[in-house]
């Protein structure tokens, strides 16, 4: 890897936002292809962050600062990324379901998905079934739902029913997560997948959209 990309990769891995910004700028100034900066500098770094999280070396704060550093670099890069020369990994709409106001887990999944090259539409917290339906109508290929409360888990079920009623269920893949959510619950409500953490949510999203 050349020096600019290596600096960018390391700055994101360390969660060093100012260094990530200057490394991204240096890579652009050196005339590197923006698509390459994104894939080999940023997405590769976030993939390594995810690997370290799964291995128990990184925790939520480390992931958050890495994602923040990546986003700071991405802001500089975006004007140079022309549509067509960078292939999106897919369009994802993600939200915390109705009745639930917790957003840290959902935000982390959104950041990690963005870091993996997905186009992410953040539906926020307390998102009613209609909000997810609208996102599916607008072309989201994958719906991500989060719940931290046992009392709001049923909103996931209701949202899937709403997508069915709108005739959109077969157009989208659905993944669910959050502290009380389990693989069994995901299967019971007819979701396509469950992930126990943000890193594995990315792997799950990738595998579902490849199919």
């Amino acid at each position: 890897m050349n020096e600019e990309l290596s600096n960018l990769f390391n700055a994101i891995l360390e969660g060093d936002m100012p260094s990530a910004q200057s490394a991204a700028q240096a890579a652009l100034d050196a005339g590197l292809d923006p698509g390459l900066i994104l894939s080999d500098g940023m997405i590769a770094a976030m993939k390594e962050v995810g690997r370290r999280f799964e291995d128990g070396d990184y925790f939520v704060p480390e992931m958050l600062i890495s994602a923040r550093a990546m986003q700071a670099g991405l802001i500089l890069l975006k004007p140079h990324l022309q549509s067509g020369n960078v292939k999106s990994a897919g369009k994802v709409a993600i939200g915390t379901v109705k009745g639930d106001l917790h957003d840290i887990g959902k935000n982390l999944v959104a950041l990690m998905l963005e870091g993996a090259g997905f186009e992410v539409i953040d539906l926020g917290t307390d998102a009613a079934p209609d909000v997810f339906v609208k996102a599916a109508q607008e072309g989201a290929q994958l719906i991500g739902m989060s719940a931290l409360l046992t009392t709001t888990m049923n909103s996931m079920d209701m949202t899937i029913q709403s997508l069915k009623n709108a005739g959109l269920r077969d157009n989208v893949k659905i993944i669910v997560g959050g502290a009380p959510v389990t693989q069994e619950f995901a299967a019971k409500i007819g979701a396509d997948g469950f992930a126990p953490d943000a890193s594995r949510a990315v792997t799950l999203a990738q595998s579902l959209l490849e199919k």
Binding site: Y58, V60, P61, E62, G99, I104, T150, T151
Partner: protein, 355 residues
């Protein structure tokens, strides 16, 4: 099945490291009580008399040994100026921080627990329960969130998590944690004054499901230890709760000197038993959602027996849910939990269970 000891005697023997007649039972049932009260959740959780009545009624129904009094996880945050929302069907939640950055720590005002809403309502509940049934059941207060988790709400959780891995923030972060320690300590003492025999704190954000053991040791462990020592000097023991899988830090948690570790079902049972044996008491660790709220009585019976087999021998266990019971937990499952402990949690004098 007759019991030989009162609930208070039973719990105190366990806390001293002895072997009682059977394993004591704790319920973390404040949301179930809210649902059973007939009041709206927001009204219930802001009314000390209603909360006391709910706990007393539940105790008369289930006969558990320990009552854990709280109204959720945001009472101190609200008292310190955070915006919270009282939900219709669950415990209140944190909406917005009290301060925008660590530069504003000096603007925080320490609440007087006897004068500040909703702390005074929780204290009223403690006083009423202690007066009415406190000679027959072991009353445990909740000094809400510990310094680490309270600090995260005062400044906003994401801001806080950025700060714990930013060395430049260390001094200001410690200033915030010192403030929070003082707030928690004062509220904990008030609970003792109102008749709680023990108090407790939740510090789930500092656990390995969110933060590294290094961050735990740097910003949580020392504060928890100081709090425990200060309360011990006032003869008030503390139960120390961390949700999720705390197996990696259970040795450190034990070393804080906490009288009780309130642990969650995700922990590795043999490891936590070994780490705590002879040093502290485990409170938990039945899964409140998957088993008690969503499982069948048969599931409950099976899980209780499984946990008794690993955690009960030699004492050092108060059995119950490792975190809050959802409001919708079936009453039948709680009866099954209590009955199963009464039946299968009986000790021989050598600390083994009567099979």
């Amino acid at each position: 099945m007759s019991d030989n000891l009162t609930s208070i005697e039973r719990v105190e023997i366990v806390l001293r490291g002895g072997i009682p007649d059977r394993v004591p039972v704790n319920l973390h049932n404040f949301m179930m009580n809210a649902r059973a009260s007939g009041l709206s959740f927001p009204d219930y959780f802001q009314n000390g008399e209603a909360m006391a009545e709910g706990h007393i009624k539940a105790w008369r129904e289930f006969g558990h040994d320990v009552i854990l009094l709280e109204n959720g996880t945001v009472a101190l945050a609200e008292a310190c100026g955070c915006q919270v929302e009282y939900l219709d069907d669950s415990a209140p939640v944190h909406i917005a921080p009290a301060i925008k950055s660590l530069d504003d720590v000096g603007k925080l005002i320490k609440p007087d627990p006897y004068k500040t809403h909703p702390l005074r309502e929780n204290l009223k509940a403690t006083r009423t329960v202690a007066n009415e049934i406190g000679q027959r059941v072991y009353v445990m207060g909740r000094a809400d969130q510990g310094p680490f988790s309270l600090a995260s709400m005062l400044i906003g959780i994401e801001n806080f998590l950025f700060a714990v891995v930013d060395t430049a923030s260390q001094n200001k972060l410690e200033q915030l944690l010192d403030f929070c320690l003082d707030v928690v300590y004062t509220y904990a003492l008030a609970q003792g004054e109102q008749g709680a025999r023990m108090t407790s704190i939740g510090e789930s954000l500092s656990g390995p499901d969110v933060c590294s053991p290094r961050v735990y040791k740097k910003y949580e462990w020392g504060y928890a230890k100081r709090l425990i020592e200060q309360l011990k000097a006032n003869n008030l023991p503390l139960a120390y709760h961390i949700c999720g899988n705390a197996t990696r830090i259970v040795h450190d948690m034990t070393e804080t000197g906490a009288a009780v570790l309130e642990l969650d079902y995700k922990c590795d049972l043999p490891t936590i038993k070994q780490a705590t044996q002879g040093k502290t008491t485990i409170l938990g660790v039945i899964d409140p959602s998957g088993v008690l709220a969503l499982g069948t009585p048969e599931d409950v019976r099976g899980k209780v027996r499984e946990e008794l087999d690993v955690l009960a021998p030699g004492g050092g266990l108060i059995l119950g849910p490792g975190c809050a019971l959802p409001a919708t937990t079936p009453v039948e499952n709680i009866h099954t939990l209590v009955e199963t402990v009464h039946h299968y949690g009986r000790y021989l004098p050598d600390g083994t269970l009567i099979s």
